[in-house]
Symmetry: C2
Subunit: 300 residues, 2 copies
Amino acid sequence: MSLAPSAMEIVAHYQARIQPVLERWLPPSTDVPARLHEAMRYSVLGAGKRVRPVLCYAAGVAVGVPLTELDGPAAAVELIHAYSLVHDDLPAMDDDDMRRGRPTTHRAFDEATAILTGDALQVLAFQILTDDQAMNPDPASRLAMIRLLATASGTYGMAGGQAIDLAAAGRQLTLSEVEEMHARKTGALLVASVMLAAAARPALAPGRRESLHRYSRALGLAFQIVDDLLDVEGDPAVVGKAVGADALHDKPNYPSIAGVEAARARARSLMAEALSALEGFGPEADELRTLARFVIERTQ
Amino acid sequence: MSLAPSAMEIVAHYQARIQPVLERWLPPSTDVPARLHEAMRYSVLGAGKRVRPVLCYAAGVAVGVPLTELDGPAAAVELIHAYSLVHDDLPAMDDDDMRRGRPTTHRAFDEATAILTGDALQVLAFQILTDDQAMNPDPASRLAMIRLLATASGTYGMAGGQAIDLAAAGRQLTLSEVEEMHARKTGALLVASVMLAAAARPALAPGRRESLHRYSRALGLAFQIVDDLLDVEGDPAVVGKAVGADALHDKPNYPSIAGVEAARARARSLMAEALSALEGFGPEADELRTLARFVIERTQ
């Protein structure tokens, strides 16, 4: 009988850890401009899966960084993710009314507030990483973290991936084009979530850093293919949002091009790749291993 | 006969300096996503006054920082300004069709691209400040710069000011409320432009830092009151955009509440305050003095 925590236990543990951190960093809705601050809190503090903070903390365990040093980076990467959802949901972008079972930010408030909410969440992420109260005292590490997060969020990362995604509507993409889009749109930030923990440990052996990079790249793509699979065949009650959204928006995704079986096979082989990247690690990487298996289990 | 350079010469000199810096930092429109990169270049490289880089460089001269160390910070603050214009012009915000004599970004491209352009310009600003090639080698100074720029851009600065501005449409504000709105919406970033140069010089005496802060706060507010005056009574051919926009949007501004003469008087007294803040400086602050006078001369 194994005493190792299950994926659900790991996720629940870090979800509970990040919640008060986010709460503390978000400006109070009693401060002017109250409506904007309220919208920021609404956009972040609702039920989110907190995949990125979970990965950041689990990677911290793998490289021996105290979790207190990762509260700031984990919050920062979640704020970047939250801002991207608020902007992606806007009428001019994906035009979504519901997110995580609640009205999207521009529906609950208004479009102008939603645009400013995204803008302000993005900059708050960088502010957190510069803050004097952050636990990691080494300015070079913190600069490295800001560089990681900025690069992952920009046009060669998340923002670029969203632009490619928007441009892809109604077009036929090859599988490698879909993978490139995913690598930027969601992969870059998932990779950053893991690499932020590595950046908190400047003395980490380069080989370890490279292993974590391989792990996170494989996991990030697997995660997105599974998301695509859930969009094609998921149960809306389980998925928590409308399914078939990609088909509705005429957006190419992995299973729609390769077929459901091939998509599942690709996700499985990516999970194997993620696990093999961690071969040089001992039990300290068990949480990362459990999370990699969990990503796949969502559909199998 | 004075040999001191005129304000126009100072401005032209630094405008010419920042242009290739911006050009170099913006992603090439040959890189994917090409349309987004093109929109970023369009939004930044068109004719701008470059007030913020000019202030940053002139402050660098005042505190003895080599200009090469300020190319990155000057570009970063201009990118934040450019992103704010792109988002402020959006239909859900101020809904402007023209900017600097050309179609606004969402008009020249489309709304989704304009939203992503602003997002990507904001993060590029932070990326520049972390870059290894930046001239300032001290990580603590660079962290201080990122903190300054992030704070100035967030909800207690620029983004918050825009929220207050939007909420003010159709309402009656007091003069001190208008000043608070201006202090955040435009003042915070103008202050940051000057303080970025001070941050590049960690050994700067605290008194000098405080003087530059007083200077930039007064200048920032004067600048905005003059902008309001130009909106009320300017010649569109000189101002370069439609005048009367505030009245059209039913937005309170300084002269509409206090009257044109009182607004002019306030701008003059702010200029005097800006100059008096620099009293402890010698001729090394002459460029900052010339720029303060220039701000007022735009309307008198």
